[in-house]
């Protein structure tokens, strides 16, 4: 049997497929989020050191994970689009960027909400906080570059190159910030020495991470459908689609 690997690489065939996939991912996200929130707010025990305030990590840690995963996935799509000259890959990268930026912001905000009762400060120049902040800058740079170039093909390729340059730099930035931090900070926070997590806490966190992941897929697909319609508005299949919707 011969498989056509590129069948869904054109917007025309992917558009209806995405429409079918979105409800699945959205419902999975909703179910996982309900289960994850139930476990993390009702079943998980109160931490004897941190009290109830620790429960924000059930949102914070998955958001931080997703912010990093999305950047890598985005760069992978961008690189694929650059290498194969595939329109849809670049559109996927463009569709993922806002969600990644939002998760980065969510991780930063929940982190500072958690930091106030725990460390007594909204913000500390911890290595993880700082590199998360720089990740937000990288996302914003990608979005700003893409939105300021009018020609969509050029915007795709310029953004893809920037995402690849960013991916090469992310480990360098991370380690430089880490060393900078150890050089400057005597003794304030040591996350490595935190008490071992209970199994229910870990389960809640994993469920929330999966929920965020499914949400990301659903939202990215919704966004990529809009981008496809906008970009291909003069193509026959979009015209046929809009005519079909009218009749």
């Amino acid at each position: 049997m011969k498989i056509n690997w590129f069948k869904y690489s054109s917007p025309q065939t992917f558009y209806p497929l995405a429409e079918k996939m979105i409800p699945w991912f959205a419902w999975l996200a909703a179910i996982l989020a309900v289960a994850g929130l139930y476990i993390s707010f009702v079943m998980a025990p109160t931490d004897f050191q941190q009290g109830e305030a620790y429960r924000i990590i059930f949102v914070h840690v998955p958001a931080a994970w997703m912010s990093m995963v999305i950047y890598i996935v985005m760069a992978a799509w961008a690189g694929l689009g650059l290498a194969l000259n595939a329109r849809l890959s670049a559109m996927m990268a463009q569709a993922l960027a806002p969600t990644g930026a939002i998760f980065t912001l969510l991780a930063l905000v929940t982190g500072s909400l958690w930091g106030k009762p725990m460390w007594g400060a909204w913000w500390v120049w911890d290595a993880r906080l700082t590199s998360e902040l720089i990740l937000l800058f990288l996302y914003l740079g990608f979005i700003a570059l893409q939105s300021s170039i009018d020609d969509p093909r050029r915007a795709d390729r310029a953004g893809a190159l920037l995402a690849l340059v960013g991916v090469v730099n992310v480990p360098i930035i991370y380690f430089s910030v880490k060393w900078w931090n150890t050089l400057h900070q005597g003794s304030s926070i040591n996350m490595g020495a935190a008490p071992k997590m209970a199994a229910t806490m870990l389960l809640g966190m994993l469920l929330m991470a999966l929920a965020f992941w499914m949400y990301t897929v659903a939202v990215a697909l919704m966004r990529v459908r809009c981008i496809m319609l906008e970009r291909e508005r003069s193509a026959d299949w979009v015209k046929a689609l809009s005519l079909g919707a009218k009749s």
């Binding site: 720089i134 800058f137 990288l138 914003l140 740079g141 700003a144 570059l145 300021s148 170039i149 050029r154 390729r157 310029a158 190159l161 920037l162 690849l164 340059v165 960013g166 090469v168 730099n169 360098i172 930035i173 430089s176 910030v177 060393w179 900078w180 050089l183």
Partner: protein, 222 residues
């Protein structure tokens, strides 16, 4: 191949020499930014010498960045960039010549001026020496990475601010290692590790940045 490289280098240096005010602008920017901090923070020498590494490095970063727009803009408008794109020589090599010229014109003067400003910040002699070394090893990275940003934003509206948004996050490792080297020597520690890391960043970007810049130019000009 070497000929084309040298010709572009000479041409860019000559052009910079003919427009000397451009070079002066970068230098004065560096001078003014680093003179503003004592006015804002206060004249205590203890405070000044403790913030000096960071302030001087951030000023060098910004001075390197404001001159980036000029790197390809003139060649882009008069069409000579297109000639470079279709030249038989590898584009990355020609781009490297332009980046080297940019560093000689905008980076090197800042390196040479920095110890003078370091004196104003009451930096001790050995820290001044480390400052010059760190800038000498670090500023080429700024020109190399900056060239990618300049090439990506070529002819884009609002490119001046966009370059800052794209390039400054990527400058962070250089800032950390560069200012760290000076701070380490101030505290009586060896700056060797920081300087080695700066040199490593320079070498890595020397290999990768011209290729990325060449790709970016092809995207921007096509």
């Amino acid at each position: 191949m070497n000929d084309a490289w040298l010709i572009i280098l000479k041409r860019d240096l000559l052009l910079a020499f003919r427009r000397r005010s451009d070079v002066a602008t970068t230098l004065f920017f560096f001078l003014i930014v680093s003179s503003l901090f004592p006015l804002g923070v206060g004249p205590e020498t203890a405070v000044l010498s403790s913030i000096a590494p960071g302030v001087l490095w951030v000023a060098a970063l910004l001075a390197g960045m404001i001159s980036l727009n000029r790197l390809f803009a003139a060649d882009f408008t008069d069409g000579s960039l297109e000639q470079m794109l279709i030249a038989p020589q590898p584009l990355a090599l020609l781009v490297l010549a332009k980046i080297l010229a940019h560093w000689l014109v905008c980076g090197l003067p800042v390196v040479l001026l920095a110890p003078l400003i370091g004196l104003q910040y009451a930096l001790p002699n050995d820290a001044l020496l480390v400052l010059v070394w760190s800038l000498l090893l670090g500023t080429p990275t700024l020109s190399l990475i900056g060239a990618i940003g300049a090439a990506l934003t070529l002819g884009v509206r609002g490119s001046g601010l966009l370059v800052a948004l794209l390039v400054l996050p990527l400058y962070i490792p250089v800032l950390i290692f560069g200012a760290g080297a000076v701070a380490a020597s101030q505290h009586g520690m060896s700056a060797q590790a920081h300087l080695s890391l700066l040199a490593a960043c320079s070498l890595l970007s020397l290999v990768l940045a011209p290729l990325a810049t060449a790709a970016a130019l092809r995207i921007s000009v096509e």
